[in-house]
């Protein structure tokens, strides 16, 4: 089970997978609310890929309809589509990381730039990758300068905190936490409309 509470594509207890007609029917059954969620979730998944808005969702839908990924009977459409997007993203990020690292290292060599080596990460490719991720974490924190509650929330999320632990960390009750979450969600999707790519 992932942290988003979505299950993978394991066979349902009754076994079996949806056929092509059932898949299309399930996609046609998506509500307006579901479609909005997919549109917003896609933005988050674009981070670290070279995809544009709409590309990932389209690719996931095609993979689902063609049957590249088997849809276990009983698994909710939203769970399966998001799981498919997550899986595609994971592969694309790994590929993009390799390409970025190769390209970045080649560029450094071409520019004659000094490559710093450290005990923590002695591989230049790894240094570049880590630097980009650290820059992104710092940039996200920087979005909320002057908003201590929002910064604490992002810090809690980055450590995997939820529920009571998160309320205690931010120092507010659930109603106030919900409000902080809404503020952070809006700010992040506004600041990073195409995923958290390095500008």
């Amino acid at each position: 089970m992932s942290q988003t509470g979505l299950v993978g594509s394991e066979p349902a207890p009754s076994g079996g997978f949806l056929d092509s007609e059932e898949i299309v029917a399930a996609l046609d059954s998506l509500s307006v609310h579901d479609k909005f969620k997919l549109k917003e979730v896609e933005k988050v998944f674009l981070r670290g890929t070279d995809l544009s808005a709409g590309d990932l969702l389209h690719e996931a839908m095609c993979a689902v309809i063609v049957g590249d990924r088997k849809w276990p009977c009983g698994l909710a459409p939203m769970a399966f589509i998001i799981q498919t997007m997550r899986s595609l993203t994971s592969h694309k990020r790994a590929k993009h990381r390799r390409e970025t690292a190769d390209g970045g290292a080649a560029q450094d060599a071409a520019d004659g730039a000094a490559v710093m080596f450290s005990a923590k990460a002695s591989d230049p490719e790894q240094i570049l990758i880590e630097q980009e991720s650290e820059d992104t974490v710092s940039a996200i924190q920087g979005c909320f300068d002057g908003d201590e509650q929002a910064q604490m929330l992002v810090l809690g999320w980055s450590e995997g905190c939820r529920g009571k632990e998160l309320r205690e960390l931010v120092g507010v009750d659930q109603a106030a936490l919900d409000y902080v979450i809404k503020r952070v969600r809006r700010a992040m999707l506004e600041r990073y409309p195409h995923g958290w790519k390095k500008a």
């Binding site: 998506l30 909005f36 709409g54």
Partner: protein, 147 residues
Amino acid sequence: MTATKKSPADEQLDRIEDALIETILNSSEAELREDMKARGKDPDKCLAEIDSLIARAKTDAAKWRLERAKAELQDWRAGKGNVVGFDREAARAKFEKIRARDPELASKMLMAARNGQGLSDNDMEGMLEDLAKLERLDGEDDEDGKK
């Protein structure tokens, strides 16, 4: 090439991402509409874009299937003998569905079984293969009809 692994910062980003997705999934439709408007987006236009995207995905998937079927047919005609077999489980599931929907067919099969003419394994295999072929021909007819 050096294998790339996730750094602690990457893991932090993953956790932030999971939390953000959770909040999106827990948001009401009204909240999501508000969020879009706050970004200067028209929610109804976004909705139309998603509907169009789903329709395009259906068309693209159908084209891909047709291309695959054509390639298999070409291989078969060329005698390469590497035609991918049909999805036996899917065909069987479909057959069971048809049988369940059609009481007459179910009744005839029951009568045949009582007369000692029940389906042998070979009969069943043949029926499943015929079903798969018919499905492919149906798909080609649909595509031809669209042209």
